[in-house]
Amino acid sequence: MFVHCFRLLCLTLFSLMLSGINYANAAQPLRIAVSSNFAPVLKQLLPQFNQQTGITTQVINGVTGGLYQQIKHGAPYDIFLAADSLRPQKLAQEQLIISNSRKTYALGQLALYSAQNPTITWQNLASIYTNKDIISTQQKNKRLAIANPKTAPYGKAAKQCLIKQGLWPLLKNKLIIGNNIGQTFQQVRSQAVPIGIVAYSQLKLNKLNGNLLPASCYTPINQQLVILKNTQQAKSAQLLSDFLLSKKTQQQIAQWGYLTAHKLTISKFTDKKKQ
């Protein structure tokens, strides 16, 4: 009768061993924690990086604030591509990063997007909600999607703009708050929410038309990367950082709707031409 017990025990031990072996054997890919806004762009860029260096990668995407919390609690990532400079700075203060690895790799831009009504602009958005006309009551009740201002840098910037425009008190109760900018974009794109403030890069990447928000209404979305102190692959992480900051990659990043740290004006001009 002990046989049963023994068998069960063996099975458990065996499966535990299996899971243990899995960790030990697998050649560790470079783990990149990336903010949702940049994840699709990164996925476009990584094949080039892999070709140049032979380094395999794993992309973990999430909201910047959430990824920051995970890193603080010991998540085994190698490099963190945040959507702001606040969290990288905090990680630096907490001595969780390799010193001097904090670099700006892109500057994010906000855009207003509506799948139903692409002509909506930042200016007439205000008129929708402030118009005293009775006909527009229905319009006034339109929901607006933004990312969570507390955890998502794009959400924080969106909130700043809404406050500046005097729309915040009106809209406060009509907002659909996405967990991250990826979710917000998905909500607007699927038309679950009629209007949303999303990352301009998301529109560019999906060949959709939206309208840029004036850069003056929000603090620049200074997207920084950091190499984490606990990484076993500092070299590979540094290579990725160099790759992202290289002139060629920066040009590509600019094409996807970001401003780049060095040439702040490139994409602004091209966008103006289009409009």
Partner: protein, 228 residues
């Protein structure tokens, strides 16, 4: 199904299988102990075990996140014992799953043990059977159906886990990216086709599993009715 999804499927099955084995090893003595407990304190233990049923997974996830962090005592101990951190690891989500699915294993077993008629065990004791022998030759065969129910529910509930893994998993492919998380990712990335493939397969698999569980219960009940 794309490769990444197959990895997620494999991770999910591995997590659920290991959790179920641990759950049975842990849940059986626990259920036995509760079933035979005379004291009124029993209700407190029953309440504690039932907590994951009503608590939002975020509550459990939050406490586990703090407990697993490398700064915490448990996190440190684990790091020293195994050399790898507990937070955001496969072992971490297995521990989370075990706690989360515990009531689904303990409760059916406890009910079964409570209904067990004592005279069989007494007779076996008189004949000189040791406790472990009594368990494997009498208790186990008589409560087999409940064990199957408990194991299937534990397994299924672990496969269906989302909130805790989201909080303590970190979405790492091959380690903590399980099916539910992969689906969430696909939906957020607007990859509806992939989300649909995974969701539909999960829906069908869960339905089949639950039907089998209820089928085994049905047979048991009918069998009892006939024998009476």
């Amino acid at each position: 199904m794309i490769d990444a999804d197959l990895i997620a499927l494999f991770t999910t099955l591995k997590m659920a299988a290991i959790s179920t084995i641990i759950l049975l090893l842990l849940g059986t003595p626990l259920a036995w102990w509760l079933a035979n407990m005379q004291s009124r304190i029993k209700v407190i233990f029953e309440a504690i075990i039932a907590l994951p049923i009503i608590l939002p997974p975020t509550v459990l996830g939050f406490y586990l996140l703090i407990a697993f962090a490398p700064q915490s005592n448990l996190g440190q101990l684990w790091l020293q014992l195994t050399g790898s951190p507990l937070a955001f690891s496969f072992s971490g989500i297995v521990i989370g799953s075990v706690l989360y699915s515990l009531p689904f294993v303990v409760q059916p077993l406890q009910r079964a043990f409570e209904q067990l008629e004592n005279h069989y065990l007494e007779a076996a004791t008189m004949l000189g059977a040791k406790p472990l022998d009594r368990f494997f030759s009498i208790v186990l065969p008589m409560t087999k159906a409940s064990f199957i129910t408990a194991a299937s529910l534990g397994f299924a509930h672990t496969v269906g886990e989302f909130g805790i893994v989201l909080m303590i998993g970190g979405n790492i492919p091959g380690q903590t990216r399980v099916l539910s998380i992969a689906i969430f990712d696909h939906v957020e990335a607007f990859e509806y086709a992939q989300a649909q493939t995974l969701s539909l397969s999960l829906l069908i698999a869960s339905f089949v599993l639950l039907t089998l569980v209820y089928l085994s219960n049905y047979k048991k009940v009918n069998h009892q009715k006939v024998s009476r």
